[in-house]
Structure formats: C-alpha cells, structure tokens
Subunit: 466 residues, 2 copies
Amino acid sequence: MRRLALRFHLQLLVATLMLALIQQTQAANSQAMAKAQQFTLPNGLVGVVIPDNRAPVVTHMVWYRIGAADEPVGKSGIAHFLEHLMFKATKKIPAGEFSKIVSRLGGNDNAFTSHDATAYFQRIAKSRLSQVMSMEADRMVNLQLAEKEVLTERDVILEERRSRVENSPSAILDEQMSAALYRNHHYGIPVIGWEHEIASLSRKDALDFYKAYYAPNNAILVVSGDVTVEEVKKLAEEHYGKLKPSAAIKARDRVKEPPMRTPLKVELKDQRAGKPMWSRHYYAPSYVTAKPGEAEALDILMKIVGGGPTSRLYKKLVMDAQVASSAGGYYGGSGLDSTKIGVYAVPNDGVEMDKVEAAIDAVLAEVKEKGVTPGELERAKANYIAEYVYESDNQSTLARRYGWGLVVGRTIPDIDAWPDRISKVTPEEVQKAAANYLELRHSVTGTLLPIAPDAPAAKPVSGSRS
Amino acid sequence: MRRLALRFHLQLLVATLMLALIQQTQAANSQAMAKAQQFTLPNGLVGVVIPDNRAPVVTHMVWYRIGAADEPVGKSGIAHFLEHLMFKATKKIPAGEFSKIVSRLGGNDNAFTSHDATAYFQRIAKSRLSQVMSMEADRMVNLQLAEKEVLTERDVILEERRSRVENSPSAILDEQMSAALYRNHHYGIPVIGWEHEIASLSRKDALDFYKAYYAPNNAILVVSGDVTVEEVKKLAEEHYGKLKPSAAIKARDRVKEPPMRTPLKVELKDQRAGKPMWSRHYYAPSYVTAKPGEAEALDILMKIVGGGPTSRLYKKLVMDAQVASSAGGYYGGSGLDSTKIGVYAVPNDGVEMDKVEAAIDAVLAEVKEKGVTPGELERAKANYIAEYVYESDNQSTLARRYGWGLVVGRTIPDIDAWPDRISKVTPEEVQKAAANYLELRHSVTGTLLPIAPDAPAAKPVSGSRS
C-alpha cells in the first residue's frame, strides 16, 4: 500500500512537472516562433535569425544542402575532404589562415560533414560578424587549391580514418552493419569514405564537387545571438548578396531502398575488442520520410525502450537479469531519408551473446504486443520537453536545430511545433510504431567478439582489382 | 585387394583418357589459335572470326562493353531495358520487326544483358550475314523510341521481374545475398534492376544510355561459322565501318570493394518456399582480377569440392551423411571484376540447417587444411578439358567464348591458353586458393526457410520516401 501510494504520488508529481514544462515550452516555443525569422536573398540564399541578446556574441553558420550521401559513385569521402579543404586558401586569405583569423578576433570556428549536410560555423563577438561573413562568403566561391596542400590534407584524412575507424573494432562493425543494411541508399557508405577511395581523391574531384554544390542558392545562413533580423539581412545582402547563384543546383533526388525482406547478421571477431558487443539497426523512416506522427512516436518509443538507466532495456538486462553491463537504444530520425533505430548491449563477462539477444528480443516483443504504460509515456514526453527547453537556452544548439531542420527541407513552424506534437503522441501510436518498425526483416544485427591475441590476425583482404 | 586393384586400374584409365584429351585439346587448341582471328576497323570496332565450314550457317554477335554494373545511380535495370528496346524501331525497320525479319530469313535471334556486357546475336544462313549485319549496324546508331512503346516495354520488364524474382523465394534470397556481399560494387544491384527503379525508367533514360555507350568503338563483332576473316572484314567495313566512333567512350572504371572484414548472414522465411535451402557466397577474384594461376586453381578447387555427384560436398552430404538431397558449389570467375564462389545444399526433411552448415564447413575446412588428392586433381583437369573440347565443337558456344573473353578485356591467345593453364595447376595452388578464398570473413551465408501458409505473410515494407 505504501509503495502504491508512493508510486501514485510520483506519477502525480511527474504529471504536474510535465504540465509545467509543456506550459513553459509553449511559452518558450511561441517566443521562439516569434523569434526565429527567415528571409531569402534574390540569389536564393536562405537566412535564419534567432535573436538572443543576453550576451554580445553570435553564432554564425553556413549550411550546404550537400552531404556524403550525395557524392558521385567511387568518390566517397569527397564531401568531408572538401570540408577540410575549405580551410585552405582563397585569393584573399592564405592557406590555413581562416581559423587563425577567427581566433585572433576572439572567436572559434569549426565545420562538420554528415550524410545529408555540410556546415561551417564561428562563434564570435557581435562586432566581428561582418568580418566572418565576409570570409565565409569569400570561401563559398573563391576557394584556391594547390595540388600540394590537397595531397597533404588527404594524408591527414587517411590518418583520421585510421584512428577513428581502422583502430576501432566497434567503428568497423558499425561501418559493416550500415553497408549491409542499406542495399541501395548511400547511407551505406561511410561519411569519411572508403579508405581506397579517399586515397585516390584528387584536387580536381574536390573542385568539381565544390563548383557543383557550393553556391548561395544551395546554402542556408543561420545566425543566432545578439542580432536582429534586420541587421543580419543587411549584412547578408552586403556579403552573400553579391554572389551569383548557380544554375546547376537542383533539388536532391536520392536513390531509394528496395523492399527489405531479410534479416541480416554481421559478425566481427577482433583481438583489439575489449568487450563483446551486441548491436542491431532497424531501417526506419526519418522525420522527413515518416507519415505524420510516426517519427514522434518512434522518438517516444525508443526513449521508453532504450533511453538511459530508467529504460526497459537497461532495467531488464542490466538491473534485473544482469546479463549486460549496459543496454539501450535510440531513434535516429533527423535524416533527409529513412535511416534507423539502434539497439545495443554489452554482455556481462561469461554471458553468451544468444542469451543477451533473447533478452533484448523479449523486451522488444513485449512492447510490440502490449505497448507502453501511461506513466512511461508521460515521463518520456516530459523528458523530451525538458531537453528541448534546456537546449533552447543555448545559442549554438538553437542555430543547429534550425540549420539542420532547414537543410533537410523542414520549415521553422514545423520545427517549432515539435514539442506540441510530442506531447500529443498516444500509446496506440507508440505501439503501432513498435509493431511496424521493430521488424526483424528490416534489420541488421551485429556482434563484436574479442578473440585471443594469439588468434590469427583479422587482416582484411582488399577487394581491389589487381 | 580386388578393390585396390580396381581403383588402380580406374586411375590409370583416367590418366590415359586425360592424356588423350589434352593431346586432342592441344590439337584443337592450336587449330583454334590459328582459326580465331581478330581485326580492328578504323572506327574502333573489334572483329573476331572463328571459321567453321561444316555447314553453311553463321553465328553473328555484337557485344557491347557495357552492362548493369555500369548503370548510373538510381537507374538500375536501364542496360537490360535498353536491350529490350533495341528490338523496337529504327528509321528503316518498324518496331518489333527485327526478329520477324530474321525469322523470315530462316534464322533466329536473341540478346542478353549481364553485369558486364550486353550482346545481340543471330544464327542464320551464311548468305544472309550481310543483311543481318546491315540491320545490327543500323540499330547500333539509329534507334527510334516512341514514348508509348517504351512504357509498354517497361510493363513487360516489370512483369518479367515479378515472375523471375518476386515469385521465386530463392531468387529473392540470391538478390538479398548479393546486395549484402558487395558493400560498394554494383554487382550488388540486380541486372534486371530494383523494381521501384525500373518503374521510373523513362524514354530519355534509355536514349541517354544508348547514346553514351552504343557506338562502334564500344562494340565487339564476333562471327563464327562458314566464313573467312577476309569475308567478314569486308562485310564489317561495309556495314559497321561507316559508323562514326563516339568520343565519349572511355575505359570502364568501376568502383572497388573496401576490405571485407565480417561474415554476413541473410535469412529469408517464405511460405512459398518448397524446401529449405542453404547457400553461401564467398567474394573471390575473377580471371581478370586474379593473380596468374589463381582463377584456374579456383576452377579446379570448386570442381573437386562441388562439381556434380562425384564432388566432395555431394559425397559427404548426400551420400555419406545423408543430411542433404543435393549439395554442390561453383566458381563464377568470368566477370570483369571480382565476383564469387558459391556453395549450396538442400537439407533433407527434418535435418536442421545448422547440421548441414556444419557438414559443409567440415568439407571446406578439410580441403583448406589437407588440400586435394592427385587423383581428384587429374579428374578435375580431365573433366574441364573434356568440356572445353566438347564446347569447341559448337559454333554458338565458340562465339560466346571469344565474345565474353574480349568484352572483359582478355585476348585471344589468353583465351586459347586456358586448357594449357588448367593442365598445369598444382595441388599446392589449389590448397592455397582454398585457404585464401574460402574465408568466412569474405562471405555471406543465406538460408531459405519455408513457413506454414497461415504464418504472417512476408510482405515487405518498401523503403520509399513518402
């Protein structure tokens, strides 16, 4: 009785907290909706401004609607390679000076490449915004690549691949799982590229890619911080407005997956693996490709099933059955195309992989058959909304939220309505999402098995033509 | 003692027969080497002539150095689709008349598409060779495609896919296994194409592909039969010589596979499957990509391991252990790029898949560890050489042998030297090939499991974006 009463009080507390959070969010949200503002320059560049005048700093980002999944066949890694090369010379700025100048101005900068987008950003004093815009606009069209610098940078990237992938059995397994899961779509090709293809990327490849995709009408400018939309638009007109749009830019038209009909299994034995690992990816729609409400339901589902130590997977495998030292899952729904749900576990010493897999399958079967409880649903919603509110307090996170959303074709109202949509997900929608997408036939299951150091080395045989 | 003596006599008989066959082959071979002759027209068209004057008929083939593995991304099936459309109209010949004309001339004709080549051929009276050449040269450059015919033919191909793949669980499994095995190379995409991509192929796609790849400098003319090289060259000059070469034709540069590091497993459950099936593909070099002697050793290896009812797999699984109703293996080494070794078995009723797999793995482990016996080696060689001699008696097979060899970049002397190279394969080379290429990390294992008709239908969920 005592316990029941406690549970009731906890649920009441959670419900009350959630209500408060939703109200706070809706306020923050309506504020955000008023605040994130968009404009488009005559040359096609889209601008988004998220004012935040608590400190005289800004985050300036330029997003290109181009990523690793758009690369030409045989040129994997070129999007990421070009991202590196964008820090080389233009007519105005010598090679390697871009970041140094930003640093001397008191700011910092970086860039990243994903399958769907490439972005460049600086965080800097408001008074320097015009100068970094001038530099970013300059390298959008004036990149100068010296053969020698290209080759040196290629070595840097090959080393990056060696340290991040080749020396990491779990990264190799992940790469092999993606290659198996996507039969047709280029999400199956690693963002950094296949080593043998990186090794043959040339200056010409980089320039071809640059000329094809870097243009104001393929870019989204995002500025968050101590600015007004009028200020940003004026600066954008001055720096980006003078750039000519490219007639070659077209809407992205990616290949689609054929129907998935067979579960796949991938097994990696590696003497460098510290612990065994079990991992599964299910093919699932993204926010862009899902039917209305589906992606939100998948977010809720995977929070309940695998989000942290209160999740079903953690409780069942780690706490109750004690077959794993960690276990969880996630939904990766931010892609332009359908991507995946991930589930994983690290078996405890001496526990067979099959036993761990059976325990996971039981958790997944239960949620497919019986759905989730109202308490779980409310906690998951409260958790997401709390995260959303928390993240909305961060200038850089806000810039990424809108930049990422717009680069995959979503709109500001769509992005802003997310907490509201999350709060409306029903238990039926969650169960339906589980039934539809935790489907073994659309999955790849990977296992990583450490082997004794004296076992034959897992030296891969290259598939290159002789 | 009786049995030993008999075995000795049998081995002697085999050895004697083989010696006779090799001598016969070397004679046939030197004859063939004198006979298969090659010329090149100024426009780049390569001609091969294999005279055979036993009957006044000829086989006329035109091979294009273009196949399904060369298709643009997202346009899978276009090579095969175009092959169908080549039987539509030119300025001179109305749609659908090509084959009817050949038939009225007393001949027959057809065409085929593979990952590496597309070929068109007619078998016809010698006196009609000039006429079919004229027609083949005409459709090499003058294809006329009406929108309506293209759409009708696309439906024909979608129906072909439905009947050949969608209605065949073993074909679906094979397709899924190839998609998994090749992480990067387009051998992972079916020749007929993915259904959703076939469905969107257009007249423009077909014409773009046609214009890009159909030209005399991308074609190999092969004529076998009652002709001399002089006659064929004269006719070729008359009909093909007037066609302009295309400046767009370049050497094929296919993507390569990244290193293969993980065994893969694919499982298909289908209520339409009559029997369970176990199948494995190992990634292996082709004659074009292998080091000298390797491909020949692989041919010998797989003849011994899996070629027919005297093979190790058949004897162990079907006759001795009686776990399978059929079992075998093969090496598919004819590709332009590295392809595969296949191994398969059909389990007997009530025998677990795992038991069959263990029996197969034992056979493969034994050959890797202990190699093959001299008797097995000699029988395999004799068998290949007998097949070669037998096939050399057939006009159409000869035309295909040289056409296929040349279209993947081999030469007539290289093709003719095959029996000699096969006869020189050593037991060490066979064992080394087994050790190098029967490697689980470079494999995909597929299982087909019938399920009860009242089990949930294996309806695939399409991965198309909504």
